[in-house]
């Protein structure tokens, strides 16, 4: 039962990531791509990690994965921010699609 639930959750996560990747190839403007890419590394990533945690049950492994999730959630916005900010400073233009 637990395995089935976790498989469904992991599948949902993978479909989020697939949507994000489709978005990256669909848009051509840098800013739209950056905005859509954050779907891959937040929503998709969190869902997959939660699925892995449920699949493994409560153990030290789960706790370690949870700590990795927390650390990624702290670092992830910093990276997105620095990439987009440096693009803006170097003069990338905003464009409608």
């Amino acid at each position: 039962m637990r395995e089935l639930i976790s498989n469904i959750i992991i599948f949902i996560g993978i479909s989020f990531i697939a949507l994000g990747i489709i978005g990256i190839y669909r848009f051509t403007n840098f800013y739209s791509r950056a905005l859509v890419a954050s779907k891959v590394d937040t929503v998709g990533y969190i869902t997959i990690v939660i699925g892995v945690m449920i699949r493994h049950g409560f153990s030290y492994f789960t706790m370690k994965v949870f700590f990795i999730l927390l650390i990624t959630l702290i670092i992830n916005p910093l990276i997105t921010h620095s990439i987009v900010r440096s693009a803006f400073i170097s003069g990338y233009k905003l464009r409608k699609e």
């Binding site: 848009f27 800013y31 950056a34 905005l35 779907k39 937040t42 905003l94």
Partner: protein, 162 residues
């Protein structure tokens, strides 16, 4: 009292981290964990922060759990709301300015990172209490309306921390 509770929280979190890294809860690990936690807090306060954690990064663990659940909900909400844009291929990214009432550095950093973490909005810059936000599909460019739409209840929850 508040201060003692705060440091107790820190030691508790570090202790759990130490035990998880060791992958066993023997008496040796349980005994060394609080000692190492207190030692690392003292060392980092003395040499890295040059100030106390209590003054710089005050938080309450119950508040933190509440905030994380709320943030998770927000992330999923905006993650779902971005799907139509991907399918239709329409995007109109623009930079809007919003104003926030928060003033401490920790609150501002938390707010900016929370905005970046939700898909569809990225914080570009902070000047004082004004945030420059890159928005996928701006519904309005009005400074207060945009603020309400982007920040939502995040700001209200962040005000509770201090």
């Amino acid at each position: 009292m508040k201060k003692q509770f705060y440091y107790f929280q820190l030691v508790l979190i570090f202790t759990i981290f130490w035990i998880v890294l060791f992958e066993r809860a023997t008496p040796f690990v349980l005994l060394t964990a609080p000692l190492i936690s207190v030692f690392s807090i003292k060392i980092s306060e003395k040499f890295l922060l040059k100030d106390s954690y209590y003054d710089l990064y005050y938080f309450n663990i119950f508040w933190l759990i509440k905030y994380s659940f709320f943030l998770l909900l927000e992330i999923y909400k905006s993650g779902l709301s971005i799907i139509p844009h991907i399918i239709s291929g329409h995007s109109n990214p623009d930079i809007v300015e919003i104003y926030t009432d928060l003033d401490s550095n920790l609150q501002l950093a938390l707010l900016a990172n929370s905005i970046t973490l939700t898909p569809g909005t990225i914080t570009m810059d902070i000047e004082g209490q004004r945030l420059k936000v890159l928005w996928m599909d701006p519904k309005t460019k009005n400074i207060t309306m945009a603020g309400i739409l982007i920040k939502g209840k995040l700001e209200k929850l962040l005000k509770e921390v201090l």
